[in-house]
């Protein structure tokens, strides 16, 4: 086919004309985009101004700051917090406020173990949004070991399988890390309804074997605590079964990672009689005189065994019976 120059030019003109029109339309749209960009630019310049101001302040304060008492620690031991959790109305609220506390603690790794046959999206989403370093596990409790509706909370031990699963994961994960037994870390069992002050995490960070401290609002008393004399724990001040080997609450002790790894068989015994859960774990790890007392020789309460009321759902249940219950898509 022979291409005449004239046809080429005509073709070119048509195509360029169409292209020009199209580009002009696109150009019009682009104008809108730049209008939206202006406020973004303004925000950026404002933020930049704030940033420079804050940096100036940091530089100013550091010039006048007192010399530090402690030398800089190259890296802090990580606190591994194992939290068993289970689905109920207040679960999201409990985990939310727990994550808000943990977010203040540096070098903390949250191991959440759900009592469920699979990971639930509620917990998954919460963990992702929390901003924490976490591990999400799940381990269902066997039916006969589970508390039924209406059972008092002390009837069966709770969280046993979940804590053991947390320990198992930790051991497996740490074995794969370089450094093996010389790894520094602390393991703490934190239930999702307790209240933790930020100081308790700093107290437990330098645990060599097992450290202990008082726990508030537990054992039917204002607080339970180890009694310390000469820097050693000689007995436990508790109103309920003080003859247990370790009459403490789960929130009252932390174990060093080294000890957990060195004793791969030690875990919580679900068959232990009521109140002996902690002892079943600690017995194989440490003796009473090896315990390290924290919190000012166990004289300050830095963690409280709070419990959250079950919300009253009378009206909700009545509505659901009529088929008018609240939208289940709205996550509570």
């Amino acid at each position: 086919m022979k291409l005449k120059l004239k046809t080429v030019f005509v073709l070119y003109f048509m195509v360029s004309l169409m292209g020009l029109v199209y580009a002009l339309m696109q150009l019009g749209q682009r104008c809108d985009c730049t209008e939206h960009d202006l406020p973004k630019d303004r925000t950026i310049s404002r933020l930049r101004g704030e940033l420079h101001r804050l940096q100036e302040q940091i530089r100013k304060s550091e010039a006048t700051k007192q010399p530090q008492k402690q030398p800089a620690k190259p890296s802090q031991p990580t606190i591994f917090v194992i939290t068993p959790t289970y689905a109920r109305l207040v679960q999201k609220a409990e985990l939310t406020r727990l994550s808000q506390t943990f977010l203040h603690v540096p070098q903390l790794h949250w191991i959440v173990v759900e009592d469920s046959p699979h990971k639930t999206p509620l917990v998954s989403d919460l963990l992702v949004k929390s901003g924490l370093a976490y591990t999400h596990l799940h381990m269902p409790t066997a039916k006969d070991r589970k508390l039924q509706e209406g059972d008092p909370s002390w009837l069966k031990p709770r969280g046993v399988e979940q804590r053991n699963e947390g320990l198992r994961w930790l051991r497996e994960d740490r074995r794969a890390q370089p450094g093996g037994d010389t790894q520094q870390g602390v393991v703490y069992f934190a239930d999702d309804d307790n209240t933790y002050s930020l100081q308790i995490f700093e107290e437990m960070r330098d645990t060599m074997r097992v450290s202990v401290w008082p726990v508030g609002l537990v054992g039917g008393m204002k607080y339970e605590r180890p009694v310390v004399e000469g820097g050693k724990v000689i007995r436990f001040h508790t109103g309920w079964r003080p003859s247990r080997p370790f009459p403490m609450d789960m929130a009252g002790f932390a174990v060093s990672l080294k000890l957990v790894l060195a004793n791969p068989e030690s875990c919580f015994d679900g068959e232990a009689p009521m109140g002996f859960l902690e002892s079943s774990f600690l017995q194989g790890l440490v003796t009473m005189d090896e315990l390290e007392p924290k919190a000012d020789d166990c004289s300050k309460v830095l963690v409280w065994h709070t419990r959250t009321e079950k919300p009253k759902m009378k009206r909700e249940e009545a509505l659901q019976a009529q088929g008018l219950g609240s939208d289940p898509a709205v996550q509570v």
């Binding site: 086919m1 291409l3 080429v8 195509v15 360029s16 580009a23 696109q26 682009r30 960009d37 973004k40 925000t43 950026i44 933020l47 704030e50 804050l54 302040q57 304060s61 700051k65 530090q68 800089a72 620690k73 109305l89 207040v90 999201k92 609220a93 409990e94 939310t96 406020r97 506390t101 203040h104 540096p106 992702v128 901003g131 924490l132 370093a133 537990v218 039917g220 008393m221 204002k222 605590r225 109103g239 309920w240 004289s299 309460v301 409280w304 065994h305 709070t306 419990r307 959250t308 009321e309 919300p311 009253k312 759902m313 009206r315 909700e316 509505l319 609240s326 709205v330 996550q331 509570v332």
Partner: protein, 359 residues
């Protein structure tokens, strides 16, 4: 067989267009990308947590001072940075990581949180975890009002140690208004006098003409608040509302929002015909509105159960003025949790534990 001249012609046609298209695409996308990257970078730089860096609002001339008011420049000068080393550790998986509490910003409206509290065994625990939540919120001013004759050392010490920007007040509810023991008598609303005192303090401290932007929120000490809630309420112009979980015997109570984004009713079972069928934790008020209507307080006497919130709100806004938040009132950002009363049977009559140890 295409002649060389034809090929040249075709190339001459196609080449400028390909050039134009590629250049045009680049220039359209590049500014947007640059802006996004700059934003991310700035956000990361502003909110990074150095190791051991703690920002504390220290009042240099401390003891006995009632509290600290926020005021841009001087407040920041009194901050003390206790950094032991310059290592900056960026927490993994986070875009926003806070120093404790976050640095004061000149652009964000202040959130004034009014919390009434009273002495009981779980008080310190409740205030501790509440403080842990508040330490994440920038430009927060906590007004804690005790139901007591004098400001207790427990609360004084706790407030000081948190490092938050706070004001510590107290007023004792007279005996005939107080709840007796455990009986939940809905005719006597708890915390009313304390909240009113806080409102009065706000009116005495801020004058209506000042440009200080502020939001007032009533936060009880046993509820649970997500951090998102505080950012939602920051844009309140008059009164904003949102759903609250675990109130009214339901999974949640929420305002009814129509397609135009206006509140037209209340999705509750308990007396949905109240003027404002909402829980104390379900609304926030712009400070300007509080200052413009200095007569608006919570009604103390003769208030039916569940009408306390209405007694204040009806003097401030109409239903039409309410601003629905939390995705048009479809997300739960606050839970009306209640803490069990701890069983203290083993204390016995004389008390088993050392009363000097504070719990």
């Amino acid at each position: 067989m295409p002649k060389r001249r034809d090929i040249l012609a075709i190339v001459l046609i196609v080449l400028p267009w390909t050039l134009l298209i590629t250049v045009w695409h680049q220039s359209a996308i590049a500014p947007l990308l640059a802006i996004r990257k700059a934003c991310h970078h700035l956000v990361k730089e502003i909110f990074i947590i150095p190791e051991r860096l703690a920002v504390r609002h220290h009042r240099l001339s401390d003891d006995g001072v009632e509290g600290k008011r926020e005021s841009g420049g001087p407040a920041q000068d009194s901050k003390e940075y206790c950094a032991s080393d310059k290592d900056i550790v960026e927490v993994v998986r986070t875009e926003y990581v806070y120093t404790r509490p976050p640095p004061w910003s000149d652009v964000l409206p202040t959130i004034h949180i009014i919390t009434p509290t009273y002495s009981r065994p779980v008080q310190k625990a409740e205030l501790t975890r509440l403080a842990n939540t508040f330490l994440h919120v920038p430009n927060l001013h906590w007004i804690l009002v005790e139901d007591s004759q004098r400001r207790t050392p427990l609360v004084t010490r706790l407030l000081r140690e948190t490092g938050l920007n706070y004001t510590h007040l107290n007023v004792e509810t007279p005996r005939n208004y107080k709840l007796r023991g455990d009986t939940r008598d809905p005719r006597i609303p708890r915390g009313t006098m304390q909240r009113n005192l806080a409102l009065r303090w706000l009116r005495e401290t801020f004058n209506a003409n000042s440009s200080q932007a502020g939001i007032v929120y009533f936060a009880d000490d046993d509820n649970t608040y997500s951090l998102e809630l505080f950012e939602e309420m920051r844009t309140t112009r008059k009164v904003s509302v949102w759903p609250v979980a675990f109130v009214g015997g339901l999974r949640y109570e929420s305002p009814k929002v129509n397609a135009a984004g206006k509140v037209y009713g209340w999705k509750t079972v308990f007396d949905p015909h109240r003027p404002f069928a909402i829980d104390m934790a379900g609304f926030a008020i712009n400070l300007r509105l509080i200052l413009f209507k200095p007569q608006a307080y919570f009604k103390l006497r003769g208030v039916k159960g569940g009408y306390q919130e209405s007694s204040l709100l009806r003097e401030l806004v109409t239903l039409n003025d309410l601003e629905p938040k939390a995705a048009n009132c479809t997300k739960i950002l606050v839970w009306h949790t209640r803490t069990e009363k701890p069983v203290l049977v083993n204390e016995g009559k004389k008390g088993f534990t050392d009363p000097n140890v504070e719990i």
